[in-house]
């Protein structure tokens, strides 16, 4: 959060404020009469595979996630608010963040914090003075605050503390993980076609679904991993590094 948002003091702004300042600066400095811009934002939270609209927290229910062939993956009924300055954005993020905290208390150790995705959609419209036709270019920036990586250890071993003595009724979540890793193994590949490792995205997380376009092919994605030099944080640092390392290997896995 420090990297992304930064504290409120000037000179210590995080990435998001810097991005927005630059964005609106360029917009306001535009002198081309044929160009016009609009900026819209949305802010959603993903908690336990459910999506909440942080800009409309009164909407108690969670939102459905769908995929449309033309529009891509989207969240139904997600608020999209127009903004004209960084101040607008900051205020919306602030109120959105407050809505987050409420959701994430009273957790037991098996659930993690929520993910949050702040999306800025920039639309540039250019009017062709000769034909009077307006064309649009749309660009989308998604800023994702990922929940703590402690649960995402690549070995799958963490978070699986045996409590034989105390709680024999623990469900076999390990089983799912092992089978999942067996299913992900590639086939022998004798045939001309490479066998796809995973047939069906059985437990595709909502986050992956929504970020599909970001993770494959047509976009740039950067990941910032927050590490600590303190030795008491060794485990978490190691875990975060492993996570980031894995993320680095994500490819657009077209099987052609």
């Amino acid at each position: 959060s420090y990297t992304m948002m930064g504290p409120q003091e000037p000179g210590q702004e995080g990435i998001i404020p810097q991005l927005c300042e630059e964005l609106f600066y360029r917009i306001s400095n535009n002198s081309d009469p044929d160009l016009s811009f609009s900026v819209e934002v949305s802010y959603k939270e993903i908690y336990c595979e459910r999506v909440r609209d942080l800009l409309n927290p009164k909407n108690k229910g969670h939102l459905r996630v769908r995929e449309h062939p033309l529009l891509g993956p989207y969240v139904e009924d997600l608020s999209k608010l127009a903004v004209t300055s960084y101040k607008d954005i900051a205020e919306l993020m602030d109120s959105g963040n407050k809505a987050r905290t409420v959701a994430a208390t009273n957790m037991n150790e098996t659930s993690s914090r929520s993910h949050a995705v702040f999306t800025i959609v920039l639309t540039q419209r250019r009017r062709d003075p000769n034909t009077d036709i307006t064309t649009e270019k749309v660009s989308k920036v998604s800023l994702v605050d990922l929940a703590g990586s402690e649960r995402a250890d690549s070995t799958g071993a963490k978070g699986m503390r045996l409590k034989e003595g105390a709680n024999i009724n623990k469900s076999l979540t390990t089983l799912g993980k092992v089978i999942s890793s067996l299913a992900e193994m590639d086939g022998p590949g004798k045939g001309k076609k490479k066998r796809k490792g995973e047939f069906v995205p059985y437990r595709d997380s909502v986050l992956t679904w929504l970020l599909r376009e970001n993770l494959g092919g047509n976009s740039r994605t950067a990941m910032i991993a927050a590490l600590s030099p303190a030795d008491i944080n060794f485990d978490e640092t190691l875990s975060t590094l492993r996570y980031a390392d894995r993320a680095n290997e994500i490819k657009c896995n077209a099987v052609v």
């Binding site: 003595g165 076999l172 390990t174 799912g176 067996l182």
Partner: protein, 586 residues
């Protein structure tokens, strides 16, 4: 079983208190005081241990067990508060004595628990080699006990219960079996990490089976696990086992009653059912593909001689191999057999068998499409359509009648083209690229078939030639679309292709080369242009592999041919150029 002396009330209370802290209150520890309950439990257990040690120095098994049980619980606490070394120490202290007495009803549960905990400590430390022997020891204890003793053993907690609080035989059995199921599950994990997937899978199967028998499972979870596991077996070409898992998954999920209404929880059920269907479809696709591989000759056609050989072999085998009954004893066995009976698990040796697989796959498809609609599950829908196309493609290999083969390829082209037009490449780039390549390949296949038909005819018609050309052009168009999709925003083709598309890009160029040369035309200038295009394509393959030798390793056959043809074409181009009248030449 030895009668044991009544456990004093104070000990019972303290043990109970410790358990309450660990199982219950620990969930409610505030985030800024994370292990509050564990530390409290530790204090209680320390106190209890001191009392136990003071009380009975006379020996005898029971006091030893009680002290060991407390140490075991203390070890659990150490694990919770991330003091693995302390946990290890505690457990190693008690393990030797316990292992000697391990097969007694009073002690086996505790002995198993200690071994399993030791195993888990090493799993958490990422040392699977050390973990394995402990878990194997626990497994062995279970097996030995069951062989030698009829009654269920005491549960660990009963060491600190009053006579009238103790569990029934049935409950003891349940807990004992459950503990072993957990052991098997952890063994699966360790084996997988030790890269023994076959063994891991066997443990997973055993775990699933035990869940069914004990009737202690969540149906959606179970069905999802069984489906995923079947995938492992399908990819490993163990179709009988794969089919068995899928059939069991289908039966289990079908037993869950479906409610009308918008309850969020219950929406997992239709999704799970759809996933099972998709996995069935993949089963069929893979089975047909492997059947094809078995019968393919050098140029990708059905090798009739080989087919005859295999069919003869099959005829000789008199006994039908036993179908695997991995879930035997479970109530659902009959239903599973019924489900399995719908589709073969042997590789198809001819059209009738292939057709049976195809039809089953097709029925699953219809069911899957009901859930995965284009407008809300685009990716899934498209992948289902791709699979449908693949089923036709695979079936056409077995079809003896060439005209029917054409029809099948045409169906494939139509369905892929239909869905291709719907997709926005901005969001579905991967799918678009896959479809482009598949469509190109399908057009190529169909064209090949048409060429075959017309070469067998005395007078190939002009209509046939036109059709062949059309298909060739379509294939070229799709290959070009694919290659265009690799360009950057300014339309420049990249110097170096990302590794996941290299092979496809080279194959696309290679095929395009061949297609340009196959285009039929009587127009000399057109022929020249086609040959020049072909030359460019082959040159691309050769050139790219020179600049990137590792790419050449992915397409050795195509590269070799490309080199040859690049050597031959210039002469042909020269010849064609000079045979044109001067005004036709460039």
């Amino acid at each position: 079983m030895a009668e044991h002396s009544e456990c004093p009330a104070s000990w019972r209370d303290e043990y109970r208190r410790a358990r309450l802290l660990l199982e219950d209150e620990a969930q409610r520890d505030p985030p800024d005081e994370p292990f509050r309950s564990q530390y409290a439990a530790r204090n209680v257990l320390d106190k209890l241990l001191a009392e136990l040690e003071q009380a009975d120095q006379a020996g005898g098994l029971l006091p030893v067990l009680r002290r060991a049980a407390v140490r075991n619980l203390q070890a659990t606490v150490c694990q919770d508060v991330e003091e693995a070394a302390a946990s290890l120490e505690l457990l190693e202290e008690i393990t030797e004595r316990l292992n000697i007495e391990s097969l007694r009803p009073e002690s086996v549960s505790l002995a198993m628990a200690v071994q399993t905990q030791l195993g888990m400590i090493w799993v958490n430390r990422d040392d699977m080699e050390k973990a394995l022997p402990y878990l194997e020891a626990a497994e062995e204890m279970y097996k030995q006990y069951k062989k030698e003793v009829e009654t269920a053993p005491l549960d660990i907690h009963e060491l600190f219960m009053a006579q009238d609080e103790m569990y029934s035989e049935k409950e003891r059995k349940r807990r004992f079996e459950k503990a072993h199921t957990h052991t098997l599950c952890y063994l699966a994990l360790v084996c997988k990490k030790l890269e023994q997937p076959e063994r891991a899978a066997a443990y997973c199967l055993a775990t699933l089976q035990r869940q069914l028998t004990s009737q202690d499972y969540d149906p959606v979870d179970w069905a999802t696990n069984a489906t995923m596991l079947s995938q492992y077996y399908i990819l490993g070409q163990q179709y009988a086992v794969g089919r068995h898992c899928l059939a069991a998954a289908s039966v289990v999920i079908d037993k869950v009653p479906e409610f009308e209404g918008a309850d969020e929880e219950l929406s997992h059920i239709p999704r799970c059912k759809a996933e099972i269907r998709r996995c069935w479809i993949k089963y069929c696709v893979n089975l047909l593909e492997d059947s094809r591989l078995q019968l393919e000759d050098g140029i990708g056609e059905l090798d009739l001689k080989r087919q005859q050989e295999l069919q003869a072999q099959q005829g000789e085998v008199n006994e039908v191999p036993e179908a695997p009954s991995l879930f035997s004893g479970a109530i659902i066995m009959d239903a599973v057999s019924l489900e399995e009976g719908q589709v073969p698990c042997e590789l198809a040796l001819g059209y009738p068998e292939a057709r049976a697989v195809f039809l089953f796959g097709q029925s699953c498809l219809q069911a899957a499409k009901r859930y995965y609609s284009l407008n809300s599950h685009t990716t899934d829908y498209v992948e289902v359509v791709q699979d449908y196309g693949e089923l036709f493609n695979a079936l056409s290999f077995f079809e003896p009648d060439i005209h029917r083969r054409c029809k099948m390829q045409k169906r494939r082209i139509d369905m892929l083209a239909e869905v291709y037009l719907e997709l926005n490449p901005r969001f579905y780039l991967r799918l678009c690229r896959e479809l482009q390549m598949e469509l190109a390949e399908a057009c190529y296949n169909l064209m090949d078939l048409k060429v075959s038909i017309s070469s067998n005819v005395e007078q190939p018609s002009q209509h046939a030639a036109k059709k062949i050309n059309q298909l060739a052009q379509e294939a070229i168009r799709y290959y070009q679309l694919f290659l265009d999709s690799l360009c950057d925003l300014e339309g420049r083709f990249p110097e170096t292709l990302p590794p996941e598309v290299v092979r496809a890009a080279l194959v696309a160029n290679f095929r395009m080369g061949g297609l340009h040369r196959k285009l039929l035309t009587t127009d000399g200038a057109q022929k020249l242009a086609n040959t020049r295009h072909a030359y460019e394509c082959y040159r691309f393959v050769e050139g790219y592999c020179v600049r990137h030798p590792e790419a050449g390793e992915k397409v050795p056959a195509e590269l070799e041919l490309s080199r040859e043809i690049v050597g031959l074409l210039p002469a042909e181009i020269q010849r064609l150029t000079s045979s044109l009248s001067p005004c036709q030449q460039e």
